[in-house]
Symmetry: C2
Subunit: 182 residues, 2 copies
């Protein structure tokens, strides 16, 4: 994401959504909320707001914010060297998250692929997660997720996170960890 004012605006919105979920951040954390638009330039539709609490060589913990109907595009976490690939557990704190993974397609899913990106979404087994619900995604399983009509907050517990190795279905996507603008 480039554009300082758009980044700062998205950070402020994400911070407000986290606060509304009862999640306390320090000032420094608020200033470095990662705003990921995946290089698509349509943050409201395709993007994710991320607070990384801890990421070390054994485990990782983040909170993820989605604006209403915002979508984290389809991707998977492949093996990297000795690492079998990131395993991750999503636990929804606020709002509704529509999570699509590999498996039998759900008839009439609630998640809607971002218009114009239909060619780059291939998995449609939908799991609907409400606050208190959680789901674990095994390494290398393709998945994407979208908030319902309200903002959503998801706690992500996982093995080590190496975002730069994520494989996105959409070849237009560039997933470079953002330099935060403080």
């Amino acid at each position: 994401m480039t554009g300082t004012s758009e980044t700062k605006n998205a950070q402020a919105r994400a911070a407000a959504i986290l606060a509304d979920a009862g999640i306390v951040l320090t000032d420094a954390e608020r200033a470095r909320i990662e705003i990921a638009d995946f290089g698509l330039g349509e943050l409201e539709r395709s993007g994710l707001e991320i607070v990384v609490y801890e990421n070390n060589d054994r485990y990782c913990a983040k909170d993820l914010v989605l604006f209403p109907r915002q979508t984290c595009p389809e991707h998977r976490h492949p093996p990297v060297g000795d690492d079998p690939g990131k395993r991750e557990t999503f636990r929804v704190r606020k709002g509704t998250v529509l999570l699509c993974v590999e498996g039998d397609p759900t008839p009439n899913p609630r998640a809607v692929v971002p218009p114009g990106s239909e060619a780059h979404y291939t998995v449609f087994h939908e799991i609907v997660l409400k606050p208190g619900d959680q789901y674990t995604i095994e390494p290398n399983i393709r998945h994407w997720f979208q908030a319902g009509d309200e903002p959503a907050v998801v706690s992500e517990f996982s093995s080590t996170s190496r975002d730069e190795y994520d494989v996105f279905t959409d070849p237009r996507i560039r997933r470079v960890p953002e330099s935060q603008e403080g």
Copy 2:
């Protein structure tokens, strides 16, 4: 912990503290909150209330509840087989947590050793954690922690948790994962 009514009472108190911190649990999770008195039979002084969200062979995530001035007794997480020992990150969500670890003793610490257990507490380097603060404890480092005068909630992100291998300084302690009474 034995005693169904004491367990149920402690579960209800812990659930209320979590709810007050904005943390949503399912009914099933509320019914299986672990009440650990470490075999000491003085839960109000020495104990911990635990919700395990996920514990697999790569990572673990829990929320920990402490009643006012309740203390989790001094212990360490030793290496187990190929595992170098549990590394854990505490992030305080609510209240104040007085965390004592190995290192230079803090003059006039705020944490107070539970009366009668003075012989079994040996580390007094105190870190005071408020909501939004976090601290990572490396494997095999002795530590203990206590809530301030208000209840506290701590999110714990860690490598795999193997409570049965924890080494407590107090030889009276029996740390058996509790059977939950639903």
